[in-house]
């Protein structure tokens, strides 16, 4: 793997599978009473967040802490950034403080790329403008694989049991190890033009062998989308019956007034996923959303809360996947091939 994770395009199929398989290992940790590993003890991970994103920040924070890293949260609000400090100066400051990894969320596309030129530590892109959000794609791939690959796999909801129902949280996760998403049909719906989640998912899911289709109004597709490794459709209804996965994108508030579509109600009628549309999906198909959701806009409440919905799982898988990425980028200590000796370092757990 490379030193940084900035784009899903940086990941070969082997890299991506290594991350997913590592995440699978780490997921077993979640079942233990003590969830903490000593692997990144003494390493410093900085969460550098220029945009409000509590869910992504705490996901990275939880991931780093479960690996025993020291975590510094640097929010642009109320910091020197608000006083006009440049990204470069902030980078040099973090560098001087000895950050081993910087997790950056920024409103400008390419900010993570630029940052990587100014710091020695690893840079993890936690979302840069309308460019990419590679760990979101990884957690989505992880979620899809757990649900639809291995074990009973595609063809039914398999052994999955809703959270809290006493199950282990996966169909047969170990069985999916090493497997890609070959042949799975994923439909990504909504504002692709401005979506970093869509960009990263198109790249990663196609690398893993999935057949990706983008379904959106033409105004919300990039002009050159034809060069992407995916299909494009303006008609969501025709895509649903052949989709194994439907991934709904959030409609940002500011798009609603910029002539991308006539009205939010019309958008919802044509591209929102309601119960009637969900009924057109194959029985085994799952519904994903990166959050936060606009219930009643791109996704109806009854869909979001249905058994097909993986939205809560995605959050849990986010922590695991980000642990895997941090672990692999920072090189940790030797990675145990099979089991984690959870009892070895009880002192560091809190």
């Amino acid at each position: 793997m490379k030193r940084h994770l900035i784009s899903a395009a940086d990941l070969s199929r082997a890299d991506a599978l290594l991350i997913l398989d590592t995440a699978e290992e780490l997921a077993s940790l979640a079942d233990r009473p003590i969830k903490k590993l000593p692997t990144l003890r003494g390493r410093t991970v900085v969460n550098l967040f220029y945009e409000d994103s509590t869910r992504t920040r705490i996901s990275f924070e939880a991931a780093a802490k479960r690996l025993s890293a020291d975590v510094i949260n640097f929010s642009a609000k109320g910091s020197s950034v608000a006083k006009g400090e440049s990204l470069k100066d902030t980078a040099l400051t973090l560098e001087a403080m000895g950050a081993d990894a910087v997790v950056i969320r920024h409103g400008a596309s390419g900010a993570a790329h630029r940052l990587a030129g100014w710091v020695r530590g690893s840079v993890l892109n936690a979302g840069d403008g309308t460019h990419e959000h590679p760990t979101q794609a990884l957690l989505d791939a992880f979620t899809i694989r757990r649900r639809l690959v291995g074990g009973s796999g595609k063809g039914g909801l398999g052994g999955w049991v809703p959270p809290g129902a006493g199950g282990s949280g996966g169909s047969s996760p170990r069985a999916s190890r090493g497997a890609g998403l070959d042949g799975l049909r994923v439909t990504i719906v909504g504002d692709v033009l401005h979506s970093r989640v869509a960009r990263s998912n198109v790249l990663l899911l196609s690398t893993l062998g999935a057949e990706v289709t983008l379904a959106a109004p033409p105004t919300l597709l990039p002009h050159a989308v034809g060069s992407w490794p995916c299909a494009v459709s303006y008609d969501l209804d025709s895509e649903l019956p052949k989709s194994d996965v439907v991934m709904m994108l959030r409609v940002q508030q500011e798009r609603m007034t910029a002539a991308y579509f006539p009205s939010i109600r019309e958008y919802s009628r044509r591209y929102g996923l309601d119960a009637a549309r969900m009924a057109r999906l194959p029985e085994h198909a799952i519904v994903m959303h990166p959050g936060p959701m606009n219930r009643g806009v791109e996704i109806a409440a009854e869909v979001a809360d249905s058994v097909r919905s993986t939205i809560v799982e995605q959050v849990a898988n986010g922590v695991t996947t980000r642990m895997a990425v941090l672990y692999l980028l920072l090189g940790g200590t030797e990675f145990p091939a099979t089991e984690f000796p959870a009892t070895e370092f009880p002192a560091v757990t809190r």
Binding site: S86, L87, K88, H106, G107, A108, S109, G110, A111, H113, R114, D128, G129, T130, H131, E132, R196, R199, P222, H223, A224, V225, S227, W228
Partner: protein, 451 residues
């Protein structure tokens, strides 16, 4: 290739140097198609070319051995940002014109988007005088079309035309005169004093927040797209306006194949339209943005291979009249940022001729006589300059550039005479070397260094 005579030292800016005579020996003057290129001596005296023949007597004259060098009429830039007054941290008239001289230029047009804006006789005269004081090349101020570049009411165009700066080219460059009625009035109004409106063609609504040419790269990089149509729509409109009112329109920094097609059509109608292309749009594509280094961020944006090919063809066949640098210096901090935060623009004066050499001459699209036409003769004509862009003949002002086309390709260094370092060509190997520049018989550059 060096000033070989022992007396060839001392400050050429002094009165004594002004009176000095120079013998440029064995220089190649490019042919013009009818006549082949020829090797000759050239005597520069009293600010003019006083003899062009072989075997000239050099007694009393300083000798410059120009064997292997090409003589071009001093280059003329229609589009330079000198930043003074207002942003002297990025460039001054002194440093910008020094960069121009090093690039082979003997005249530059200073764009109006300074602070304060060059929209009054006072400001254009100030810039003009600063140029005279600096002495590296002639500085011809461009006046703003609208007051404060605000695009709402005409600046005092006639007063600027009547001023000591004798402004003839007017431009809101950096911004488009997007209001069609205001553009029409501006075009009409400058007819009274043989003016020309140089339009920065960019539809503001189609480029809100735009960052990079709309295409594969912008889609991949997640940078807001800058569609070609935003340029082409304005060019089409303005060509029609220029035809309707019979006024001279010049189109700045043409960057798309579609723009070329429209200009070709307008010219085929005999309409009074001229156009320029920048060196960077002749060489660099939007793929350079892949690393989000804002040194490649420019307005209009870098386009595609297909656009470059068409721009080169158009420059070769004369559809595009000239090369103009759009030299746009910026301090380091304006570029060491996120892409979206960074300033638009690149420097270009010191590299323009070498870029044209690579893009146009090495490709066989243009010969050196063609280069002289596109980088000196035509821009001088469009800018209504007298004493610039004239053929290298007896009696002509001694404005010339000596260029070594055989100099081995060398990597461009970002540090030059310009105060700014934002050259997109840094590290790129470009052929050729500007050896000397003469402004009215006085060397401003000798042996590739400021004289």
């Amino acid at each position: 290739m060096t000033a070989g005579h022992p007396e060839a030292t001392g400050n050429p800016g002094t009165a004594a140097a002004n009176q000095a005579r120079w013998l440029v020996r064995g220089v190649t003057v490019p042919g013009d198609g009818e006549h082949g290129s020829r090797v000759t001596d050239m005597l520069l005296s009293g600010g003019s070319i006083t003899a062009v023949e072989t075997g000239l007597n050099h007694s009393g004259a300083r000798v410059l051995d120009a064997e292997g060098l090409i003589a071009l009429p001093g280059l003329v830039d229609l589009h330079t940002h000198l930043r003074e007054p207002g942003r002297e941290d990025a460039e001054t008239v002194e440093t910008g014109t020094a960069a121009a001289a090093l690039g082979g230029y003997t005249a530059v047009h200073a764009m109006a988007n300074t602070d304060p804006v060059a929209d009054t006789a006072g400001v254009v005269e100030q810039v003009w005088r600063l140029g005279r004081t600096a002495g590296h090349c002639d500085v011809q101020p461009v006046g703003a079309v609208t007051s404060g570049l605000a695009g709402t009411r005409l600046a005092e165009l006639g007063t600027m035309a009547d001023s000591a700066a004798r402004v003839r080219v007017f431009s809101d460059d950096g911004r488009c005169v997007s209001d069609p009625l205001l553009m029409r009035r501006a075009l009409e109004y400058v007819k009274a004093f043989d003016g020309v409106i140089a339009q920065h063609a960019q539809d503001p609504r189609l480029t809100e927040g735009a960052q990079l040419n709309e295409g594969e790269m912008s889609a991949r990089l997640g940078l807001a797209g800058w569609p070609a149509v935003a340029e082409e729509a304005i060019i089409a409109r303005d060509c029609l306006l220029a035809a309707h009112v019979g006024s001279a329109l010049h189109i700045c920094h043409v960057s798309t194949a579609g723009s070329v097609e429209i200009i070709r059509w307008a010219k085929s109608k005999g309409w009074p339209v001229t156009a320029e292309v920048t060196p960077h749009h002749l060489l660099l594509t939007d793929e350079f943005a892949v690393g989000y280094d804002p040194v490649f961020k420019v307005n209009p944006p870098l386009r595609t291979e297909a656009d470059i090919a068409e721009l080169r063809r158009a420059l070769a066949d004369g559809t595009i009249d000239c090369v103009a640098t759009d030299h746009a210096p910026h301090p380091v901090e304006a570029k060491e940022t996120e892409w979206a935060e960074a300033a638009f623009g690149m420097t270009g004066l010191e590299t323009a001729l070498r870029v044209v050499h690579q893009a146009m001459v090495d490709t066989g699209l243009l010969d050196w006589a063609g280069v002289a036409d596109r980088m000196s003769v035509r821009p001088a004509r469009i800018g209504r300059l007298t004493g610039q862009g004239t053929p290298l003949a007896v009696g002509a002002p001694a404005n010339l550039t000596l260029y070594d086309p055989a100099a081995p390709a060398e990597a461009v260094v970002s540090a030059g005479a310009s105060k700014s370092r934002n050259t997109p060509f840094a590290g790129m190997e470009l052929p050729g070397r500007v050896v000397a520049t003469f402004l009215r018989g006085v060397p401003t550059v000798l042996d590739g260094k400021l004289a």
